[in-house]
Each structure stands twice: as C-alpha cells, then as structure tokens.
Point group: C2
C-alpha cells in the first residue's frame, strides 16, 4: 500500500505540479467518518426475519426481470435459477449465498491518497447531490443546469471540509450533448478536485470511457488492482433490471470498480404502500442485483443501496424527511448489516422548492437517520433541493456545514480524566463560574463544534448587519468559497492526456440527445 502511494505521488508530482503545490492555499479536508457510537436499530429481530423470509419468497415465486439482456439470463441459468422468458426465479437462499463474496468494506482511491475513503463497517463517506437537471441560486432563481454550474459545484465540493467525495452528476450539464456529457463531467471531477468520484452509468460504453479516463489519471495497472470509482446503479423497481444499468454495472464489476446497487423507490408507486412491504421488495432487489454483480466478478466491491421516498397521496409528489422514509432507511440498514454489506442511503433530501425551513427540517431528519442508521455511503449529502430536481448553490454550503455535526456526533465523547473535569468542578464549586477556570481555558477551542455559516451573533449585531437569514448567509459563503478556490495540482502530462482522450472521443461520434 505504501508503495502504491509513493508510486502515485510520483505520478502526480511533476515539476510543474510541485511548483503549483508550493503556492497553493491549504484547504481543510476531514477524514471520512469512523463511528465510535452504536448504530440504532428500529426493527426487532422477529420483524427482520419475516422480511428476510418474505424477500426470499419474492425471489423464488415472483422472480425478477432482466430486460434485453440474454447474457444475464444465461448467467442466472448456470447459477441455478429458473429462467422463463426474461423472468428469473431465484431459489430460496441462492442470492444470499452469492452475496457472500462481496467485501464488507473496501477502499476507494482518490488521486490524492489523503482523500482515499473506506466504505463499509463503521465508516460514513459523504458525497454531494446527484442528478438534478436544474440549479437554483439566490440571484438567478431556478434554471437548467450547465457545465459551468457543474464545475462550480465540483469546486464547492473540493472546498467543503466535511465532504469526502466529489460525487458524480452533481447536476446535469444540459448544454453538453447527452452522449458527451460524461466526458466533461469526469474531467471536471478529475482536474478541479482531488477527492474520489463516481463513473458514468447512462450507457455501458460511457462506463467503459470512465474506466479508460481513470486509467489515464491513475495508471492502467493501478485501476485494475484498485477501486477508483463508485458508481450508481439504480434498479427499475419493482423487480426489474434494465440492460443499460446492468450493462454499466457489468463493465464496472469486470474492472473491479465499485457499484451501488440501489432500488430507487417512491413508496406506494414502485413498491407497496407499507414500510414492511417496501423493505421486503428493497431486500429482494438488492439480493438479486448484488448476486448478479458477484456472478460477473466474485469479490467486486458493491454497496447495498436504498433510496426510498414516501408519496403525497394528494398531489402524487414524492416527499422527503418523512417518518416512513426514516423507518425504511433504518430497517434497510439493519438488513444490510445482516448481509455484511456496505450500505448506501440518506442524503440532504427534501421536497421544498427553496432552501427554507422546510428544506432544513427534512434534510436534518434524513441526515440524522443516516448517521444512526449505519449508512456507509451517503449520496446527496448536500445541495439537494425540490425532490432532487434542483441542485441549489446555497443549500450545498448550508448542508455541507451541517455535515460537521455528523462528524462530531459520530466521534462519541471523550472519557479521559481531562474530559471528566473533576478538577474544574472542585475548583469552581457551587455558585461559581466556569468561563475563567483553567479547564475551560485549556479546552474551549476544541470543546464545541462550530458552524462556518450559521448565525451565532448577538441580536443587535445581527440586526445592524442586515438581519440576514440563512439563505443570505449561504449566498455569501458560496461567493467566498468560489473566490478562494485554487485548483489542486495535477501532472500536466496527465492533464494533457485527458484532454486528448476527450477530444478524440467527442470527435468520434455525432452529438446525440440520449
């Protein structure tokens, strides 16, 4: 491992890069979270066992569809499933058995080894919003996202101390043709950040392009021996695996790259309207998808995902931060741990159109549920607005600030003699004041988490300064972070090779709309 680091430092460390490093502003980056506090389990053993039994019944008797994918059907047949048309009936226990080869924990490498993340076990890795076609900011309102917006979000992510991961489609750059977008998006993650990132999944060939770009960035051997991308494979719930997503997953698995196998469910529409029914379907889908991943390459890193929202039966709108979403997240975490698999869920999810109180209530519910529910990889941790239709600049920095709270909570409390503070209690005594005492003086700097954004000022100061609300403070912070941003050093030879690859790729095909 140390050798690999040395190798990669050398790769990233040409003369120009070293010169750039010397003049760079030092940015703060927190290590991924390692929980020192227990997980919370909302469901009891008996309930979990019923869900597991029912999920096996679904796999065996209802089956799952692998669509437009004869090779997948053949693989399942050989593995012992009964295949009828595109329907795969998986005998009780088979999928769970196949899942056992998936690692409980894996390392995703970043081009800066200090930004490597461990995914699984007690860790929690935080990644930004994924997928919105729109952006919103306080000045410009809501509009279609562009590549310029995308780049700004990557820069904000790089500057966000508590964000461990650069993410993937932080917004859809709608000004770039659909079949070429992934090249520009990957390029932005590779050059404007040094944190780990996600690969393209909208077409198997784009997954292949992602692998090839990583081979330029990390070296071909390194990519084959290490995981350098974690990519999002959604299931077409209920119980359907389409050839595009499966095709992308096949490429990633064959290249030992990580996938998040993730049912994307609006409860009551794509799954039963009940929590237990939804958990049963989620588990069945994850078992089938992860088993298939392991059939492609046993031991490939894979994350059990669960993206579930409830639905407002009045408007049909998906709803976020609701108690049912918390229950499902928590139960899915328990099920993932019983499978010994890394778990993805949560995020700064909300339905609100604005980064207002509704957005914050809903986001905080999901952040808290994810921390205590044992989530290992939290996509959408910051920036999500309006049910994921919008990436919000202000909400990005608001949520990113909140992520500091998760770090602090996860660390647990100090229990040593200094933390017990008996000297202080004896020194101050009844009726005294702790502000001046020695223990306070020597501990106050690290004693309390402190926001980089929210208002803690006295009323009069706050009022004189314009009585600013959170969105206004966030707008100022977005401007400051983008002004302060400095690009992390990258070997110019690698940068040039990436440019060349992208140029050739783009020239090789006409623009397309899908």
């Amino acid at each position: 491992m140390a050798d690999q680091h040395a190798l990669r430092r050398a790769r990233g460390g040409g003369g120009a890069a070293r010169r750039a490093e010397r003049t760079a502003v030092k940015i703060e980056a927190a290590k991924y979270i390692e929980r020192k506090i227990p997980n919370y389990g909302m469901l009891d053993e008996a309930t979990l066992e019923i869900i597991e039994k029912n999920a096996e019944t679904v796999l065996e008797e209802v089956g799952v569809n692998f669509v437009d994918n004869p090779q997948a059907l053949e693989i399942w047949r050989k593995a012992g499933a009964k295949v009828d048309g595109e329907r795969v009936y998986i005998p009780r226990g088979l999928a769970r058995e196949l899942c056992k080869t998936a690692p409980a924990k894996f390392t995703q490498h970043a081009r800066n080894p200090d930004r490597n993340v461990e995914i699984g076990g007690d860790t929690l890795v935080l990644a930004p919003v994924y997928g919105p076609p729109f952006v919103r900011d306080a000045d410009g309102g809501r509009r279609y996202a562009t590549m310029d917006d995308f780049t700004k979000f990557v820069k904000l992510g790089y500057m966000s101390k508590y964000l461990h991961h650069s993410g993937g489609t932080v917004c859809e750059p709608t000004d770039v043709p659909v079949n070429k977008r992934h090249l520009d998006m990957l390029h932005a993650h590779m050059v404007y950040s040094d944190k780990p990132f996600m690969g393209a999944v909208t077409e198997p060939s784009r997954a292949q392009d992602s692998v090839e770009m990583c081979e330029i960035l990390f070296g071909k051997d390194f990519v084959q021996q290490n995981t350098v991308m974690t990519s999002l494979i959604n299931v077409n719930s209920p119980l359907t695996f389409d050839s595009i997503m499966m095709g992308a997953m096949e490429i990633y698995a064959r290249n030992n790259q990580a996938c998040i196998l993730s049912p994307f469910i609006v409860g009551g529409a794509m799954s039963p309207v009940s929590v237990m029914g939804t958990l049963t379907q989620v588990l069945a889908e994850c078992l089938a998808g992860i088993a298939y991943n392991q059939l492609i390459r046993p031991g490939a890193p894979v994350i059990m995902g669960c993206f579930v929202t409830s639905i407002d039966m009045n408007s049909g709108a998906p709803t976020f931060g609701t108690p049912e979403a918390t229950q499902i997240l928590n139960g899915a975490g328990q099920l993932a741990r019983r499978l010994n698999l890394p778990f993805r869920s949560g995020g700064g999810l909300c339905g609100s159109k604005l980064p207002d109180a509704q957005a914050a209530y809903e986001t905080a519910h999901t952040h808290n549920a994810a921390l205590l529910g044992g989530v290992n990889f939290m996509l959408h941790a910051c920036g999500w607005l309006e049910g994921g239709l919008v990436a919000s600049f202000e909400k990005f920095v608001m949520d990113a600030d909140q992520l500091g709270i998760l770090h602090r909570l996860a660390a647990g409390i100090a229990t040593d003699e200094n933390a017990q503070a008996m000297d202080a209690i004896f020194e101050v005594g009844p009726g005294g004041h702790y502000l001046g005492c020695e223990h306070t003086q020597s501990n106050f700097k690290e004693a309390f988490w402190r926001t980089d954004l929210l208002d803690y000022k006295p009323f009069e100061t706050w009022d004189e300064e314009g009585a600013r609300d959170t969105q206004t403070l966030a707008k100022m912070r977005v401007t400051k972070l983008l002004n302060d941003y400095q690009q992390p050093a990258l070997d110019p030879a690698i940068a040039a090779a990436l440019d060349e690859y992208i140029k050739a790729k783009k020239a090789s095909m006409p623009d397309a709309l899908v």
Copy 2:
C-alpha cells in the same frame, strides 16, 4: 379512576356547558406518545458508571448550596447530610437512595380527562415554548410580549393536534405587573384550553395561588389526590438551589403536584466545557434536588430535567441543536432511566433570529435527539426562537406540525399480514405499478404521515401561487387556526369563581416589578 372521570365530567357539564359542547367544532388532539421503538443510548456502561461515581463524589466532597433556606438545611441535616453554613455535603449513595420514592411514572390530569397525560416510562408528552420576553411574527417583527400574545399562543396550543400540554409561560406578558401575571396566565390556560398546564414558580406565594386556582377548577379533594400541574424548577447551576425555586417546589411537593427539577446550563459557563463534566454536574444537581423534593414529601411526582446548551466561544452566545447538546441530552436520558425517573429535555431549540433554515436544522436535531433519547416531557417543543428570547407565532405552527413526525416514528411499524403486503407484491410483479393495486387503495389514507403546513405541490402550482416559503405558509396557518378557534366549554360557575379569585387576589396587593 372511572369514578373520578365521571365526577369531573359532571363538574364540567352544567347545562350551558353541554349546550356549548353540542355546537363546538370538534378539534383533533393526539394522545401523548407511547414509544414502540427502542431508546438510543450513546454512552456505554463504563462511561455511565464513571459519571455516576463522579457525581456522588461531587455531592459528598464539593457539596451543594441551599441558599436563604434554613429549613432545607435542617431537613438535610436530619436526613444524614453534613451541613456547613449553606453548604450541604451529601454522603455517597444517600441522594440516590432518597430518589427511590419518586414514582417512575405519573398521571397529570387535565380538566378534560381525554387530555390527561402519563409522564414516565415509554411516554413522550409535548409542551410548548416557555419563558420568552419577546414575540415575533412575520408582520410585526420582534417586540415585547403581551397578555394578548399569551392568549393567542394558548389558543394555538389548544388547536395543535400534536401538542399534548398547554405549557406554562408561553411568553412573558410584559403588560401585566410581575406579581399578578401568573394569575392571568393560569386563567388563560384554564379557560382557553382544556389541556394540562404548568403552575407558577417565580415566588412561593404564586405557587400557592396556582394550587388554589386548581382547587377551584378541579375541586379541592381532587387536587389533593391527583397531580394537576407539572411545574418547572430550575437549578441555579452550578450546584446552587435558591430559596425562590425551592420555596415553590416545596409548595408543589406538599400538595402532591409534579415538579421538573432541571439544571439550566450553558456548558462552559455554568458547567465544565466537556460533555462528561457537564453530565456529572447535571446528575449531581438532579440527585440533590430530587432527593430534597422527596424529603419534603416521599412519593411526590418529580421529573429529572436537563436543559443544556453549548456556547459559542467567539460571541459568548448559547448555541442550540449542536452535537454536544445532543450528546448531553442522550447521556442524561440514560442516567435518568438508570434512576427510574421520568426525564425532561429537548424542545424545538434553536439560536436563529428568524424561523429560517437555521432554526429548522437546529430544531430538527433536538426533536430527533429527544425522541430517541427517551425524553418523557418535552418543554419548548414548539415556538422557541432566538435562544428562547422570542416566542415565534410562525415557528409555533411549523414546529407543532413537525411533532406529528415524532408521533409517527414512535409508533413503530405495522408487521401484520396486511403490512407485509405480499399479496400486493405478487399482484403487481416485476415492472408493474402499485398505485392502482388493491393493497394501495385500501391502505394509502393511513400509510404516510402528512404535513398540515409544508409544501408538497408541483413546482408550477407552487410558483403560480406565489412561490411561498415556509414562513409565509406558517403565517397563513396561524391566521387560520386563530380564526377557527372556539373556546372549550367550561362550567360557568367555575369560570365565575376563577374570575372572582383573580379579582380579589389582584386587589389584595399593589403592582410590583418583581
């Protein structure tokens, strides 16, 4: 018990009251929460034992002050403590032993028996903000609170489905002389609501007035045999019990009325700057205060309270919704359960000046911590703004709506055959849609919690309707609830007797400023 209900129904049920009842709008009122989900314990056994050991050391070696209260010193001396001046040194184990006579759970009666609450064990009772000298609303901004504001908050509390308790000083009516305020405040709770409420604590004589007014409302015998008030007794941290609060507590305990014995701590100022040091002091104070309560009347209902905020060391401002506050709340809950005592903490606490995203993040953190941390009585559950300096009309209804989430989460999930939804999964199958299936149709009305306030509309509708943020929606809801309000029926003879009592009391003393 059934007899008492019948008796009280009869008291409340004169002819006029019955007529009023027939024409009244039926308001919805949720039962107090009974948790069907486990509590969350953040601290391990070893840490809890150290805190308990250290707290006993504090009581024995540092001691606590009972100020201006010779009778208390005498009681402690007789109980086996060492008294030196006003300092009481409590031998290891004595306070914990004395606490054992306090009930683990008790009933607080309301004048409407359907609104009675159980406090302790698995329950969670929600009460509104307490104490702010200012109010804020979207139109008028921030200003000193008046009796008119107070009455409006009581009405909003009565109209809030998920609020079980009318509270106490929902704001300070600064237009009424200090020594007469409690009469008008209690009167408002008694006549504008039929939910349980809190008594006055700002002077022992005002606690006595509170008991006497309850004797008019409930009947003298009923008050002596039952708990009809839960009142807030703050400790002057560190380790000091003043004669005003203790005097009020003595009156309540003697009359079998419940007290919340509650350290009020800004960590780093009134307690050590560390979580473990603060928990040690909180436990020592609670042990001493509750033990004293039980010395006054063994078996009197008493709640172990913990109101702790962190402090911003830059501005000196108290901060809310921080990770340290969550850690302390959670640890204090564990300590309370080990004492087998009801636990008070939490609330919709925030430092924000406005009901904006900051307010909501901070509030949601504390709401969630309180639910999972085993809180039995949550004061400040709604309406709290700006570190408790302000009662906000908009935030009151925003938070009160959020309390529905706590109810839903606490209920756990259904696990019966209908909830398992296997029929639905078989019916819909891979690639199908659940919206039309029979299971969805017969379950959707109760399937998901639904807000009464937040925006779930499609973007276009929301935009056409004025792109309203949460505060704007909340303002509309405040207006609607106050318009819809109808006073609950009360026997006119009782109403007249209360008026007469207050009139006589007010006439008996000149206005005073303290």
